[in-house]
Symmetry: C2
Subunit: 461 residues, 2 copies
């Protein structure tokens, strides 16, 4: 007979206490294999519980394979053959602790201004979407993203970016990294990929982590150098033509045409156009996408709502040329969508109802003010610095012509509570520049913070 001390105070039902007791006895070898357990009637009377309680405990032990019921004989402990693994202490577990850095002013090129986000409208759309009669929206959706959403994206891309495509060519995904991951599966791993020498580091890392070899192609004032690209032996070029990241170079039309001609020269060549922040240009119209001039299906267009809405809402999109789309359907068409359908529908309505355009227009004004304020403050440096890559996007570049070296400048800024980002961190291959260049983002800063940050830099640099 098993004597089990039942805890009458515990919330745990009796059957669970009995099940756990017997399970642990078996685990620890106290109840050996082939041991006959008391009958459920006998144990019930012994423990003064209902027979049903014992039956439930036994039935759970049977389900998990600790005991078996042999008809007309009773319940027996199973042979486990293997011992239970002994507990190993996790001594070698290295906690990854990120250095918590606290800056007065952080000129990060990432992040967006969320003070001016239309929370009310977004909440309203969320509420409207989250209705019981929308319950179909809560089932699994189209792997490429919902059709209605792709239609809205198509219209937006055509009108705002000059992109020509059909809904079917659009793949919605949770972030650029994910879309690049999918894209990487469409290319032969032996293909070399050309990156502009200064680059969005994640893109380079994604392709590297997939086993591709990345080549480093120099930039001139018009973007990626075609001669060097031709010499590189690459068949795929990752570029940011409308606003080179991070240098801000705009690729002029003749360079674009040359790049397209390069892609057409050989079967299987592709241009990946990352159009990451085309929404924000402060003088004149946005620069149209390269994709709009592609007639042969060599351009893969990538865009995101990270800058226009929020980086926390993980919605990006990719427009595949038809040649690649077929391959996509074959190789990754089965991957479930990574974007919540609720989020898709909210973003869809946000665009379709005109809120997105209004928000972008408003933010363009707000960012322009911050941008102008930053430029104004920087001008007080005089000839010691030069500004690059301004008038668009959410950051600009500053080259320092004083005597101090990059490391010293970084150190001085940090010591005084200001974080700036050296361009050298964005270079595929580090190259020494006698006059260091820094990236200054302004999206998340107020004008006061911008003024404060630059005034500190003026003092210590």
């Amino acid at each position: 007979m098993l004597t089990i001390e039942l805890n009458y105070q515990s919330k745990e039902p009796f059957y669970e206490q009995i099940y756990k007791y017997i399970r642990d006895e078996i685990k620890e070898g106290m109840l050996e294999k082939y041991t006959k357990l008391p009958s459920s009637r006998g144990l019930a009377s012994h423990l003064s519980v209902s027979r049903n309680t014992i039956d439930m405990a036994y039935s759970q032990l049977i389900s998990e394979g600790y005991i078996e019921s042999i008809p007309k004989k009773g319940y027996y402990v199973c042979e486990l053959e293997q011992d239970f693994p002994k507990i190993s202490l996790d001594d070698d577990w290295e906690e990854v602790v990120k250095e918590e850095e606290d800056y007065l002013v952080d000129f990060s090129p990432n992040g967006v201004d969320m003070e001016n986000f239309p929370y009310n409208q977004w909440r309203k759309l969320m509420k409207e979407t989250m209705q019981t009669d929308n319950s179909e929206l809560f089932q699994l959706g189209d792997p490429q993203g919902d059709l209605s959403f792709r239609k809205t994206i198509r219209l937006y891309l055509h009108q705002s970016r000059g992109v020509n495509c059909q809904e079917n060519q659009i793949i919605v995904g949770a972030g650029m990294d994910y879309l690049l991951l999918l894209l990487g599966m469409l290319f032969d791993k032996t293909k070399k990929i050309a990156f502009e020498e200064a680059v969005y580091p994640q893109a380079y890392q994604v392709f590297q982590s997939l086993g591709f070899i990345g080549e480093n192609i120099p930039l001139d004032s018009q973007g990626i150098r075609i001669k060097e690209l031709e010499k590189s032996g690459c068949d795929i070029a990752y570029v940011t033509p409308s606003h080179q990241y991070p240098t801000g170079i705009v690729m002029p039309i003749h360079r674009r045409l040359k790049l397209l001609a390069w892609a057409q020269e050989k079967e299987g060549r592709y241009i990946i156009e990352d159009d990451y922040d085309s929404e924000f240009r402060y003088h004149g119209r946005p620069i149209p996408a390269l994709q709009g001039n592609d007639r042969k299906g060599n351009v893969i267009y990538l865009g995101t709502f990270s800058k226009g809405v929020s980086p926390a809402i993980r919605i990006s999109y990719m427009v595949l040329p038809q040649t690649l789309y077929k391959k996509f359907r074959e190789k990754c068409g089965f991957y479930s969508s990574t974007v919540s359908r609720i989020d898709q529908e909210v973003m869809n309505q946000f665009m379709a109802k005109g809120y997105f355009e209004r928000h972008l227009n408003r933010m363009r004004g707000i960012y322009r003010n911050k941008h102008d304020c930053l430029v104004q403050e920087l001008k007080q440096f005089g000839l010691k610095i030069q500004i690059f890559g301004e008038s668009a996007g959410l950051h600009l570049l500053v080259q320092y012509f004083g005597k101090k070296k990059e490391e010293e400048l970084l150190h001085l800024a940090k010591e005084n509570g200001v974080k700036v980002y050296p361009l050298s961190d964005y270079m595929v291959k580090k190259k020494s520049n006698p006059y260091p260049i820094f990236i200054l983002g302004f999206a998340r800063l107020s004008e006061e913070e911008i003024k404060k940050g630059i005034s500190i830099l003026r003092k210590v640099w």
Copy 2:
């Protein structure tokens, strides 16, 4: 002089009309390279617009590289070198049209009951999360998922599934497919992966699309056969021990211990435990996760909120053993999270406030009723069928012992508006079974629909 017909009715500003006119003239070769454009003053007076309008148009053309300004000389059309690509008609574009199938009763094993979802609570949490003072939540978050959310998941997994882990071992991702994709990047592509012969097809496809070789290991009544696994030469085994998908087999404890012993035999062996629907068991307690018995770090645990909340809300999680975690940090630690931080926080609160547990308890009752109803209806078939894999999950299996063949049964069901899912579609390698087995899901059906569907099957089968 350029004569441009300005449209006074258009919403398009004049500068944009002028810019587009000149751009298109250059594109079409009407304005040849090196052509001198009129001065801005001259063109302004010719078109009766302000000089500022012309300056804006010229400045946009300069930005895009169509014209250049030569100091003291004026504006000139640039040499483009390449012609613009001619328009190619997209004749060969194959529209992928999915066959729209309309069934009276669809016994799909996918999808969940959303009629009983606590929309009000979810909406309330959404509203609370979407507050301006939460604006930090709208910036890019931790690549593994927010720490507070991982803490909540850890607690849940420990209490409900017996999973032992630290927050750092948890990776939150947008769906199982995505997490398997990441996981695939941690393994050497030469490793063979063992799959149970009946399998969640997406898992098999993901690894196949990544270039892995998948081996097909037979199942017996206790799950994957260890002898065959040993013979297979595989180092990684993908299993569903708590509720084999789709057969519903529960792997008993002695088989689990053997599987763990297999993994410990050789360096670099791993078990992928896909715990996709462990929440729903209708008699007794849930079967604990295999991971809870792992002491050597051989088990990778995967779970999802697709069944417990909704497949449309793309939140899954993976618990990596420490050995793999380090590799993960190195190889994919930089990948941005694929789950919106808003959704993470809403799910976090949904769990932390006890709504999730309440919802699961409620759904367990609702699904049990549907399950029992389906079993009841099926019993009327008599000896012609046998039921398998019942008492847990959102589907069960039915084997048909009549004279009709699988294809005929499927056809008869379809003709009469009922969709059933043959097990053969879930087999890694098709094998002919004289008595076909079908999967019947019940989550999305009402009891009336279940009764109707089975009564039709009884008539036609």
